[in-house]
Symmetry: C2
């Protein structure tokens, strides 16, 4: 247990890493992985190109760090909100809302995210690992909620995984459209519609048992 106080060097290094990640998220989001240049990232981070390579071994390593950091943040938020939700319906609404709001506040990362999902579809099975795992953890959190709701008879007996994935897909589409249309915050009408739609689809038929 070496709980040393972070030295000044550590602080500076942490600051640099953060700056580079932020700058890289912006550049990757705007241009995509291939078209983004390390020069542009360095400029956006206000350091020389050589400095970037002091903190990250390659362009790919920068990209990986950007993706991992964003996904970790979202995962944390989803975990918090699902734990706080009182009912299955509230959990669904929270899941959609958290994702929508996070991505709306970080449009650059949303672009990185969408591009990465696209890459996932084209990728070879073995290189899929980390990204797929991060996605799985997100949907599995929602899936757990669905399982409980089915067991409690709160929703009709559907496949919890399929239902969770459906919510996931719809929220992704919703976010994409919001960013395309440039909708600024406000109107939660679409989130409400989506939650209602899925809830109507899930609730037990009147009088239905088990």
């Amino acid at each position: 247990m070496s709980a040393t106080v972070p030295s000044k060097e550590d602080i500076v290094a942490e600051f640099r890493r953060r700056s580079i990640i932020q700058a890289a998220c912006h550049v990757f989001g705007e241009k995509g992985f291939e078209a983004a240049t390390v020069d542009a990232i360095a400029e956006a981070a206000r350091v020389a190109k050589g400095t970037v390579y002091l903190y990250y071994a390659s362009k790919q390593a920068i990209y990986d760090a950007v993706f991992a950091s964003g996904m970790a943040e979202i995962e944390r938020l989803i975990g918090e909100q699902l734990a706080a939700a009182g009912s299955a319906r509230a959990a669904i609404a929270a899941f959609v809302t958290v994702r929508a709001e996070y991505f709306q506040q970080h449009p650059d990362f949303f672009r990185v995210y969408v591009a990465e999902i696209a890459r996932l579809v084209a990728a070879s099975p073995e290189s899929r690992g980390a990204c797929q795992a991060a996605l799985d953890r997100q949907t599995r959190a929602l899936q757990k909620v669905m399982e409980k709701a089915v067991a409690a008879g709160e929703v009709r007996p559907v496949d919890p995984e399929a239902a969770a994935l459906a919510v996931f897909d719809m929220s992704k589409g919703l976010i994409g459209r919001r960013l395309l249309l440039g909708t600024r915050g406000g109107s939660h009408k679409d989130i409400t519609f989506l939650t209602d739609l899925i809830w109507s689809g899930l609730k037990p038929a009147r009088g239905q048992k088990k």
Copy 2:
């Protein structure tokens, strides 16, 4: 009206264009736009690089042609199937099925498609044009079906556009997952689930009027 019979030259030119588009779809699907090389496309089409440039002005032009040709095909299929469907429920099922089957039979194009949608989110508003229009035509076809169903009281009074987009998003997610998991044809369980889910969410509450 110059209805000339296609000459032999036209036939050969048409054949070359097709070969190049097919080869390009494969290469773009595997590597993405930037990482794909014109050399690789030429090799896959079994022609020299110079020949590719006899038929298309640039790498971008090849890509555009690939995307346009695939989207036109899907649009045609959707139009046919929606026209043939007897009910709103059947139309929803047909919409999902057509897209799922087309993309499953053309996984390369699906990758191009997904990457292009990702690019759309990052793109500047003015460069969005053609791609967005193609997508709009697809969802609008389904939206029309929804409008009629709402008017007929076949489904409860929801926003037809939002409902159509929800179906669209879910079918896209479903296709992506099928390709990721490498599901071979067969099992339509997921399509059935999805159709049921959305239908339960849409049908009028028991006893509800108008």
